[in-house]
């Protein structure tokens, strides 16, 4: 049995791959893990909706789900936080390095990598 996080990710991947909103039943059909109970799929879809990653609309007696944002938009948001481009300089993450500019850095880098080859 996969963990909940793993399941959420694969369900999001399925929904991102669809061009139109899908029902829970369709998600269940598309998912690789055939043994998954329909209620589990429903639960995960519900969780993702509550977290704001999915939007749902009524379609007869079922819900149709679509992603709130594209995968790329989420990746971009992560990277904005990671590179601290939001500019709030919060302590939420610790980052490896900031940008450097100038030829000095490049010369130094070349010198350092040449040392490696010796």
């Amino acid at each position: 049995m996969k963990g909940l996080g793993e399941l959420e990710r694969s369900i999001m991947d399925i929904i991102w791959a669809q061009s139109s909103p899908v029902t829970a039943r369709e998600v269940g059909r598309l998912i690789a893990d055939r043994d998954l109970a329909p209620t589990t799929v429903m639960t995960v879809l519900d969780r993702l909706t509550r977290k704001g990653f999915l939007l749902r609309t009524r379609d007869g007696r079922a819900w149709r789900y679509e992603s709130a944002e594209s995968r790329d938009a989420y990746v971009a948001e992560l990277m904005l936080g990671a590179l601290d481009l939001t500019g709030d300089r919060s302590a939420a993450l610790t980052r490896f390095a900031q940008a450097v500019s100038g030829s000095e850095a490049e010369i130094l880098l070349r010198a350092l990598t040449e040392l490696e080859d010796e």
Partner: protein, 308 residues
């Protein structure tokens, strides 16, 4: 009255000390020790500054700051039966300013803590959806993005994250160095070190000294992580990873963030001490600074407890 004067002096000494300390360069030779001193200065400045005002304001109770505050609260609840000595305007002002400052400091710290936790929670939720495992780097989350990024999301279950661009950019030895650096952040909980300084910065955004202090502590934390990492990897590879990262990033510094020239100097300072490490600060001096920091940290709370 004496306590108030001592606390005021202590606050002043801390403020002047912090201002001078931002220019100190021996800190690069012992970043861990310098961080301890910064924390001591911060805590003492806050407690001594507010304590001085409150100590003066509550002097008529003759019970010191902490007991005085209790006595004040009790008399306020009992319909204003206070001390025998009449309450002058200066004391009332000191009381208002002192209580306000204390409240602001506490609220700002708590808000910063809550906001940080919330930002991390959101970041983690996103990460869970779009990151993947990579057999090349076990235990590290990989995000498919061409830009260079390596960071950690601190917490009880810390996660180290790198972008696909990073995996492409760095050699295996450099990647090892970067991961060693990030796990040092995780192990030593550097996020908790940075939190109060970021909070103070948010409370006093116009203060240039506070801005410089935050930058300085941020740099010291990076150097501390570099020092831990160099035990597990080649310092040269860590330095070249830093440079590769910095030159490849070329992300424009956003408004309000560290200026490019500042950040450039910071990266260069880190590279320099990795490639040509200076002599370590003598053990005797390091221990004295730690002992001094501990005494400083203990002094303000003791003065809060002292009667008169």
């Amino acid at each position: 009255m004496i306590t108030a004067a001592v606390l005021a002096t202590l606050a002043l000494v801390c403020a002047v000390g912090a201002w001078r300390f931002t220019r100190a360069r021996w800190t690069y030779r012992a970043p861990h020790v310098a961080i301890v001193l910064w924390q001591a200065l911060g805590v003492t400045w806050g407690l001594a500054g507010t304590g001085a005002l409150l100590s003066y304001a509550l002097a008529p109770y003759g019970q010191g700051v902490l007991q005085g505050l209790r006595a004040f609260a009790v008399s306020a609840l009992n319909g204003g039966y206070g001390p025998a000595e009449p309450y002058g305007l200066p004391r009332i002002l000191a009381l208002i300013v002192g209580l306000t400052a204390l409240t602001v400091l506490i609220v700002v710290l708590l808000t910063a803590g809550v906001q940080t936790l919330r930002a991390r929670h959101h970041h983690r939720a996103l990460l869970a959806l779009v990151s993947r495992d990579d057999p090349e780097v076990p235990g590290v989350r990989v995000v498919d993005h061409p830009g260079p990024a390596a960071y950690c999301v601190p917490g009880l279950r810390s996660q180290v994250v790198v972008s696909a661009g990073t995996l492409k950019l760095l050699s295996p030895a450099e990647l090892t160095a970067v991961l060693a650096h990030e796990s040092a952040h995780v192990r030593e909980r550097h996020d908790l070190v940075l939190l109060p300084f970021a909070a103070l910065r948010r409370a006093l955004p116009w203060s240039r000294v506070v801005g410089r202090i935050q930058t300085e502590v941020g740099l010291l934390v990076e150097m501390a992580a570099d020092d831990v990492a160099r035990r597990y990897c080649s310092p040269r590879r860590l330095a070249s990873a830093l440079l590769r990262f910095g030159t490849a990033g070329a992300a424009p510094a956003p408004h309000g963030a560290l200026g490019v020239s500042d950040s450039c100097a910071a990266v260069m300072a880190r590279v320099e001490r990795l490639v040509t490490p200076g002599p370590e600060l003598p053990r005797r001096i390091r221990y004295s600074i730690v002992a001094f920091s501990m005494t400083l940290t203990a002094s303000a709370p003791l003065l809060w407890l002292m009667p008169h």
